[in-house]
């Protein structure tokens, strides 16, 4: 056993670092520093996506034939580390990690030709249209219907929590095409090549942090071509399950969490303790920081074992273990950041948080991002399968074994 990266990888690390130092524009850097969610500021992160694509680095996890980098697991980990160290905006997951790999696996040749290049290059952004007001955890009960009419489907109903739908130009979605059999058996998976079909209306939703990230999408007799279907009609549930595998694997999360910890460690050197002196010297704070550091190291260890195909990572409970651990840690780090910022986390600073607003924050970047990050992180235990549902799934794998 050893934890070192080989010597050749040090050269790779330098090469990555040099590019990441030189390539981003000022706006992209600002957007990265102001990222308080999985979803970085849209305009700038897509610009960064296109720059990385020009370098050939937009999709490290993709196969080379589709434009991937051909990097090893270690190289991808190093890339993520170097990327986070510089506070650059993380590329949005929906295309690269979700619908892209799904199209490679299950899409038609025509769909691959038509959609993969735009996902790779960052020309397109895909929103995910699964959830509905009455179909959250019980996703299979979704009701938004698609009725077959010649070469088209006619869609009626509503989606909600479609992240960044107001910025997206495409959508992948689940629709109900049959009510006859089991509810899972009447669902179809569709790719929509536009967001501006007649009858489609997007309504943004303001989040706890005062920012718009989520949306509702309404469909009123929206006619879309059947050529966007993935898999067979009424077989969309298994398509979605296949996609879930991509959604939950492939990227390293711990470099992001480690970066957050580093920012906290830096901030406490000057942040005053309510007991006098700075927090870094306050034994009460040290103890609490120690607890979260220990949790972080445990998660880093686990994630590296998953990425290096250690048997501990092939446990059937892995996706749930990974989801629960990473999201609870994100929330703990958010709470810690708010505690360090103290009173300075209390001003509402939506304008200063907006990229290129030119508005100076009250406090510094750490104080500015503390509360929005904490508030946004509340959602991490809700999306992608709530942590209650994940604990159910995890418990079930124990009995199945």
């Amino acid at each position: 056993m050893h934890i070192d990266f080989s010597d050749e990888l040090q050269a790779f690390r330098r090469e990555v670092g040099e590019f990441l130092d030189a390539a981003p524009t000022a706006a992209i850097r600002e957007a990265g520093k102001k990222t308080t969610s999985v979803f970085a500021p849209f305009k700038e992160v897509m610009e960064w996506h296109r720059i990385l694509h020009a370098k050939g680095w937009s999709a490290p996890a993709w196969p080379v034939e589709h434009g991937g980098t051909g990097w090893s697991v270690e190289q991808r980990y190093i890339f993520a580390e170097e990327h986070w160290k510089r506070d650059l905006p993380p590329l949005l997951p929906n295309g690269l990690q979700m619908v892209g790999p799904l199209i490679m696996e299950l899409g038609t040749e025509e769909q691959k030709r038509r959609y993969l290049p735009g996902i790779l290059s960052g020309e397109d952004y895909w929103t995910q249209g699964y959830s509905e007001p009455n179909a959250g955890s019980d996703l299979a009960s979704l009701a938004c219907s698609a009725v077959s009419d010649g070469d088209d489907y006619v869609i009626n109903g509503q989606k909600i929590w479609t992240t960044l739908a107001h910025e997206a130009n495409r959508m992948f979605m689940l629709v109900r095409t049959s009510r006859e059999a089991r509810k899972q058996a009447g669902i179809t998976f569709l790719l929509l090549d536009r967001m501006d079909y007649p009858g489609m209306v997007v309504r943004p939703i303001v989040g706890l942090d005062g920012l718009v990230e989520q949306c509702e999408v309404f469909f009123d007799n929206v006619r879309v071509p059947k050529s966007g279907r993935v898999g067979a009609e009424n077989d969309g549930w298994s398509v979605a399950k296949q996609l879930l595998k991509h959604e939950r694997g492939g990227t390293a999360l711990s470099p992001m969490l480690r970066r957050k910890m580093t920012l906290i460690q830096q901030a406490v050197r000057s942040a005053p303790s309510p007991n006098g002196g700075v927090l870094a010297d306050d034994p009460v704070f040290q103890r609490d920081l120690g607890e979260i550091e220990a949790e972080l190291v445990s998660y880093e260890a686990y994630e590296r074992m998953i990425l290096t195909n250690h048997p501990i990572g092939s446990d059937p409970g892995m996706p749930s273990l990974n989801k629960i651990m990473s999201t609870e840690l994100t929330q703990q780090l958010g709470a810690l950041q708010v505690r360090v910022a103290g009173l300075w986390a209390v001003p509402s600073q939506v304008n200063a948080l907006t990229v290129a607003s030119g508005i100076d924050p009250i406090g510094d970047m750490f104080d500015l991002t503390a509360m929005p990050f904490y508030l946004n992180a509340r959602a991490t235990s809700i999306y992608a399968g709530t942590n209650e549902i994940q604990r159910d799934l995890l418990a079930r794998t124990l009995h199945a074994a």
Binding site: P272, N275, V346, P347, L375, A379, S381, I382, E388
Partner: protein
């Protein structure tokens, strides 16, 4: 022992509760928050007409009593209804501090105006990332030949944006603390105004060589007076947090009982049922501590550690309840459109003000250790 409210108190609470129910439901509250003033003159007049601006003061200055239990019952309702009117800064903090000042004509004059509702006051006390410990006040007040010179910076002055008068805490050259009244329009007073995450207007206020007349100083040797303000703040903020917890619990029970997934109300899932049970446990702990502390205060038995203990419980248990409430509401809970997230944000702001839980818990721990070593060791003596 009696931890109940008097009949008059119950009447006052019911009246205020009705008023807020009619004029301060969540939608009305959001309209007020988003209005240009960020508060409602109309509601303030209604508060005045109902006597709420007089209620938390001793009879000697024209109030209705001003006991700890009065603060508790008023503040609980403010918390439950997410009230953003400047009741805490103007009435509970500035007003009550002025009422305790002896024989200063200026202070009494302002107090009258605050109680009439014809002026607003704000407390400019906290500095840096928070000033729970009053020995850390750094704002300087220097006596000069013709008056006083004030220098320093205060943070998160609630209601500071449109206060007619500021109650400022500062340190004199000999180290003693002082309390003074400052006209915010004076030269050298700089305000950075903003809204807070919990829908209030506040300011960071910088005093740069502000020249004040001698009678601006309403109290020197003000350590006890300032500690009294902090204690009022701890009690009122904790009561607000407890009121917020009540609202969070009610909203969550109701949501979980009506929201269906997998064909059944989500309250039928044990994970949710136990979460609700834990919320109830937290609420009952916090509210019992609140009433108990009020009774200690009214019996003249409250020590600083009792206020700290209450604030720590309100902050910790409050955050736990609020985070659970968001989780139970699922995606809906992460939006600005329902009240639970706003209660969460209020509780986080309360946690940040006048010292976080960890600060107060440490004080409680330190004081219980010293209490134990001071007490006679009974077992040893009996043996």
């Amino acid at each position: 022992m009696d931890f109940t409210f008097t009949e008059e108190q119950v009447m006052l609470r019911d009246a205020m509760s009705r008023l807020l129910g009619q004029h301060y439901d969540f939608d009305q509250r959001q309209q007020i928050v988003h209005s240009s003033a960020g508060r409602s003159e109309r509601v303030w007049r209604q508060f005045r007409d109902m006597g709420l601006l007089h209620a938390p003061f001793p009879e000697a200055v024209g109030g209705f009593g001003g006991k700890a239990s009065d603060l508790v019952l008023l503040a609980e309702l403010l918390g439950e209804h997410l009230v953003v009117e400047p009741y805490l800064p103007s009435i509970l903090l500035t007003g009550r501090a002025l009422a305790r000042v002896d024989g200063h004509a200026g202070a009494l004059g302002w107090l009258e105006r605050l109680m009439e509702g014809s002026a607003l006051g704000a407390l400019a006390h906290e500095e840096g990332h928070g000033t729970a410990d009053i020995t850390r006040i750094a704002t300087e007040l220097i006596p000069t030949d013709d008056g006083l010179l004030l220098n320093g910076e205060k943070r998160l002055v609630l209601g500071g944006t449109d206060a007619d008068v500021l109650l400022v805490t500062a340190r004199l050259p000999d180290g003693a603390l002082a309390m003074l009244l400052v006209d915010p329009t004076l030269r050298g007073v700089g305000m950075e105004c903003y809204s807070t995450i919990d829908g209030r207007r506040a300011a960071n206020i910088r005093f740069e060589n502000v020249r004040l007349a001698p009678d601006a100083l309403i109290q020197s040797n003000a350590d006890k007076a300032i500690q009294d303000i902090v204690h009022d703040a701890l009690l009122a903020l904790s009561a607000e947090a407890v009121g917020a917890m009540a609202a969070l619990l009610t909203a969550s029970v109701q949501y979980a009982g009506t929201r269906k997934q997998f064909g059944v109300p989500i309250s039928s899932f044990q994970a949710i049922a136990h979460r609700l049970a834990d919320m109830k446990l937290a609420y009952v702990k916090a509210r019992s501590t609140l009433f108990y502390t009020a009774a200690l205060i009214e019996s003249g038995r409250a020590e600083p550690r009792d206020y700290s203990l209450l604030k720590a419980q309100a902050g910790r248990l409050g955050r736990a309840i609020a985070e659970s409430a968001v989780q139970i509401h699922g995606g809906v809970g992460t939006t600005d459109e329902v009240s639970v997230g706003h209660h969460l944000k209020r509780i986080l702001a309360i946690e940040a003000m006048f010292g976080p839980s960890e600060y107060h818990l440490r004080l409680v721990g330190a004081s219980s250790v010293s209490a134990a070593s001071a007490a006679p060791r009974r077992e040893a003596m009996e043996a």
